[in-house]
Amino acid sequence: MKENTDTLDIREGYREKFGFHDDIAPVFKSRRGLDQDVVREISAMKKEPEWMLAFRLKALEHFERKPLPTWGGNVAEIDFQNIFYYLKPTDEQGKSWDDVPADIKRTFDKLGIPEAEQKFLSGVGAQYDSETVYHKIKEDLANKGVIFLDTGSALEQHPELFRQYFGTIIPPSDNKFAALNSAVWSGGSFIYVPKGVKVDLPLQAYFRINAQNMGQFERTLIIVDEGAYVHYVEGCTAPIYASDSLHSAVVEIIVKKGARCRYTTIQNWSNNVYNLVTKRAAAYQDATMEWVDANLGSKLTMKYPSVYMMEPGAHAEILSIAFAGKGQHQDAGGKVVHVASNTTSNVVSKSISKDGGRAGYRGLVKVAKGAVDCKSTVRCDALLLDEDSRSDTYPYMEIEEDRVSVGHEATVSKIGDEQLFYLMSRGIPEAEAAGMIVSGFIEPITKELPMEYAVEMNRLIQLQMEGSVG
């Protein structure tokens, strides 16, 4: 039998695969807690320009002033003063894989990142705690002018481009957790794709939280210039510790005229991570923004990737999967805001609840005044695998124009006895049959993933389903 603690039994297999942690002495570790001095210290360590320090301090004010949200999940237990806000694991960022320290490399080896890169990935940026230790992009992309850096380096190397877009999509005052991120952010990815450049293979970054009580506050900024295309994939894991960690990222995306951006997340944090993330994109004329957002891990996730369609012809797609097992609450969803006329959006959400878990969809469709001939459809399906679990659907529709077509549909059901009987009568064990049905249920979304992620996704689902019957 596997050795499991109470908090882990729905995520069997997690400890073996991801639940390791390496003893690494960070080069720099801020003290616990948060105040102006910690923020100044972070900014000084990173040798940032004055405007960034001012930005951080202003954000800290917003964070201190804003109340905790009273809706969604329970965030009252987060002890903001017991968190390390910044750790720097190595002195210098590795230029090639060989330069990455051996112990950190071991961690990545366990995650299988280098192999992935060797195969066909165009670039790997892996964030280890707060700074990206390894970043490489294929020569040809660099030659085309594609910038793929960790966010801190981008501030240093492309200060003007950076300042033009940073914080323009999600201002620090947006919400309490965006304010927190704005005050203490470090790491994350910065991507700039020049006009007309299509990046054929997905760019990837893998995030891990290693240290206990470590907050992870990465900040990602993606600019897809006119007619360009990029697909960014992030995966997240964290080792298992007794106390809770906080992950609060901010992701800002600008998709310019005729461009397309897809952002795929496979969130598989361990069961003690609060995952409170603000993700937002602005899509301009005829641009397309697609969020593929799968949430399997964490203790509590509150995340609603949004798309603001700013100019005519913009299109938004949100595909969301939420899987909640024992002790988990996935408050997932998305927002589509039709600011301009002739914009369209499509949201598909699949949520699964099991072993007392709570999964749901919370979403907004907004058609602003003056935005006519807009079309939006939202489809939410929920699967409840046992009588102890819970499913929520909270779709908000705010429509301020008449020439629109907005539709929302949702169903909640259990695994069909007939489907189960059909598979079992063909000799498939019950747990496996249930797993197949769940995989089929989320198929419309997994088929949108890059192949190795689709395989991983189905394996994770299978892992979660095992031991669920009998």
Partner: protein
């Protein structure tokens, strides 16, 4: 045969305005109305609750979309002398007479004007069957045990400042009680009307059907637009006993100056059937909580609602289908149209509790937006804690269907008429359920008037 009765409205020495009300005044009110001790105690508990409970603000989820901070509560009147009782329909004010229609359409009629009941009429069959249709104060004197059992059993005084004010300051309500196994063929009508400027009203309707009873109740809220600010804070409590079958039609037909903050709640016992029809046309601002709690296995609740907002009307509906136990069914259809600068909010929740296996729930909200300045918010939510359920919801917001429009216009109809026809077709499935030909015609006509503007 019908029998009319005159009923004197109670008189109390309340300070005239809400700002001056205190615990003593509330105690006087109970004394003047000749209420039994349990009712007086209920009033004073409710007032104590009001004193420490502010009006809701936009920080509360269900009030986020309705701002009432501009209302000058303290200056609103809470008292007036009773209107003279009418001895027949002919003696009622003219604007109410047109609402009432022929006597054959009803088994009872109660008219509440401002603070008291001014007319009560019940047919012989209803009285013989032991059905109670009375002002609450009078019912409490005649049948204290019954009233104590059902009054406040569904809506508590300590849910919000509004339910608190209703319980503390309500001058007189109406009680409808149908004994076990009694079936009434014709509807009981309760007409609530207002005519005094700046007067705050607290209507209270209690409807209770014992096991196996069957009845139809029409509650109607009307006014013809007296000057000033009109605030109405009603509470409706409905209980449907085992195997009982109740149809309630709720009609909001206020004039354009009325602010309405209401709670209406039905509890349905084992194998009970409850059918609710709602038509909302009038009022400046309507904020209504309408809830069905399915509390016994086999209980069934069906809700058909429609609303039509124009000018600067603001409607905010919250519906709640609460499956407390299993093998219960709920089915809700809410249809709305908006024109001019109207704003509507539909916020609905289906809740299936942990042990409510075998529940079947449906919820649909359809909105037609007829003006680029109107705004419709729709929030149809689900909270499901049992897995063996069937639960579906849907919501749409859109314009008049262009294909339907084309079909009619291709047959020679002009655009304006074609739109009117499509809108009246949109509402017809709900309006045809109004259980009185007179009222159905009045409401349909009013809807058509709004559609044709």
């Amino acid at each position: 045969m019908t029998r009319s009765e005159t009923v004197a409205a109670p008189r109390a020495d309340l300070p005239a305005r809400l700002g001056g009300v205190n615990a003593e005044a509330v105690a006087d009110l109970a004394a003047c109305a000749g209420e039994p001790a349990f009712m007086a105690a209920r009033r004073s508990r409710a007032w104590a609750y009001c004193e420490k409970t502010p009006f809701p603000t936009r920080l509360e989820e269900l009030w986020r979309r309705t701002d009432i901070s501009g209302l000058k509560w303290d200056s609103l009147l809470v008292e007036r002398d009773p209107h003279p009782a009418a001895r027949s329909v002919a003696e009622l004010p003219a604007e109410l007479r047109s609402e009432i229609g022929p006597a054959e359409e009803r088994s009872a009629l109660v008219v509440v004007l401002d603070t008291g009941v001014v007319f009560l009429e019940r047919d012989e069959a209803l009285i013989r069957a032991g059905v109670t249709v009375l002002p609450i104060a009078k019912a409490a004197r005649e049948k204290p045990a019954l009233v104590e059992r059902i009054l406040g059993a569904t809506v508590r005084h300590d849910e919000s400042r509004f339910t608190g004010l209703n319980a503390a300051l309500g001058s007189d309500g109406v009680l409808v009680h149908v004994p076990a196994e009694v079936a009434l063929e014709k509807p009981i009508r309760v007409l609530v009307a207002r005519s005094t400027p700046d007067l705050m009203l607290f209507p209270h309707l209690v409807v209770a059907l014992e096991s196996g009873a069957r009845a139809t109740v029409i509650e109607e809220y009307v006014s013809s637009g007296e000057p000033g600010t009109a605030v109405v804070v009603p509470v409706t409590e409905i209980t449907v006993g085992e195997r009982a079958d109740l149809h309630v039609a709720t009609l909001f037909r206020w004039a354009g100056n009325v602010y309405h903050f209401g709670v209406e709640r039905a509890r349905i016992d084992r194998e009970g059937r409850f059918h609710w029809t709602l038509a909302a046309l009038g009022g400046k601002l309507i904020k209504a909580d309408m809830e069905m709690h399915l509390e016994g296995e086999g209980a069934e609740g069906k809700f058909s609602g429609c609303y039509f907002g124009n000018e600067s009307q603001h409607f905010d509906f919250h519906t709640f289908q609460n499956h407390v136990v299993g093998h219960t069914t709920s089915d809700l259809l809410f249809k709305g149209a908006l024109r001019d600068r109207a704003r509507t909010v539909y916020q609905g929740l289906i809740r299936v509790n942990k042990n409510a296996q075998g529940s079947d729930a449906y919820q649909a909200n359809r909105n037609l937006i007829l003006s680029d300045k109107a705004r419709a918010d729709s929030i149809p939510s689900l909270e499901i804690e049992a897995n063996d359920v069937r639960c579906t919801h849907g919501a749409t917001v859109g314009q008049v269907d262009s294909e339907q429009l084309f079909y009619l216009m291709a047959r020679g109809m002009n655009k304006h008429d074609a739109e009117r026809l499509i809108i009246s077709g949109f509402f017809e499935p709900v309006l045809e359920r109004i259980p009185s030909p007179t009222l159905r015609a009045l409401v349909t006509e009013a809807m058509d008037r709004k559609a044709g503007n």
